[in-house]
Symmetry: C2
Subunit: 187 residues, 2 copies
């Protein structure tokens, strides 16, 4: 079973090392890793935009070759998961592949939104909450926007949430390894 390893660890200073650990753990679980990795040299005169499109095409090709995804949905630069990883989770769910996810932040989406609004929220007539910007504050006891856990669960997968050492927010692989074990059991 080929597993696409999605997550914002590609943005870390030690991305290569973290990706190599994910790759090794995936093989140890008896699964075949497909991970975004080092990029080939581009054609001469390639613009930034063209390079971005080339990376996108490469990642989509890897997903086409994969049977499953494990998405690192740890909040990234804000309330929720990295949008690149979220796109890839949606992409694989849309293709009806197996989907698992994990986040190294245990607080749920609602708790993080309350924090985002510093607790400054208003109550609608029906009792639902809005931030001071008027936007509805979702409260579904879920780790992120409902489409993410919804898509994972609809395909029989699981989204594992736990807290880790903040220094290893994107590189702690405990929950990733738990996802691997669940996925390996489905072969």
């Amino acid at each position: 079973m080929r597993v696409y390893l999605a997550g914002p660890e590609v943005f870390l200073p030690d991305a290569r090392e973290v990706l190599d650990r994910k790759i090794a753990l995936t093989r140890e679980a008896g699964l075949e890793p497909l991970a975004p990795g080092d990029l080939d040299e581009g054609p001469e005169g390639e613009s930034r935009h063209e390079k971005g499109l080339r990376i996108s095409r490469k990642n989509e090709a890897l997903m086409h070759a994969a049977d499953a995804i494990i998405a690192n949905l740890t909040p990234f630069r804000g309330v929720g998961a990295d949008p690149g990883t979220v796109y890839e989770l949606g992409y694989m769910c849309g293709r009806e592949k197996l989907a698992y996810g994990y986040t190294n932040v245990a607080s749920n989406h609602f708790e993080r939104l309350v924090n985002y609004y510093d607790g400054q929220m208003m109550q609608d007539e029906d009792g639902s909450l809005r931030g001071d910007d008027g936007l509805a504050v979702e409260h579904f006891d879920m780790a992120d926007n409902l489409m993410l856990p919804g898509g994972i669960i609809a395909r029989g997968g699981k989204l594992i949430a736990c807290d880790v050492d903040p220094e290893a927010l994107y590189s702690d692989l405990t929950a990733f390894a738990d996802c691997l074990a669940l996925l390996a059991a489905r072969r």
Copy 2:
């Protein structure tokens, strides 16, 4: 052609009004709108979590019935697009449907990241930039993470970016109407 209308306007206080305007514009363009709308009453004793899963299933069923998506990728509570909308864009691209997107913020992803880091960035040996948290600052002249425009462009679509009155950040439908016109021309 049936078009799934994805975007964070569902979180607005006047969500119904904005969605109804999108639906009307879609019909005027000769296309059939499929929009997340009012939710049926759930079963008695339904938990928050179960309700969230029910909304996810409903939205996925709408996407299964759609031939195309127009995603409102306007930055939402932070640097980038609403994760629910991003999931849906990935979902439809994964299904190889037509995909268009728009954002009512013209600044690109890199410019917003520089702003996010208050300009406090470091330079790697190869000249690439990192935020003061060590995370790579992407610079691909794109409106958001490269997977989003990459997915749209790979399917022949377009991501339109423009600035609007900040009061109408999520409800201005100028760029949405431009997407409708491009999509209608492809029938």
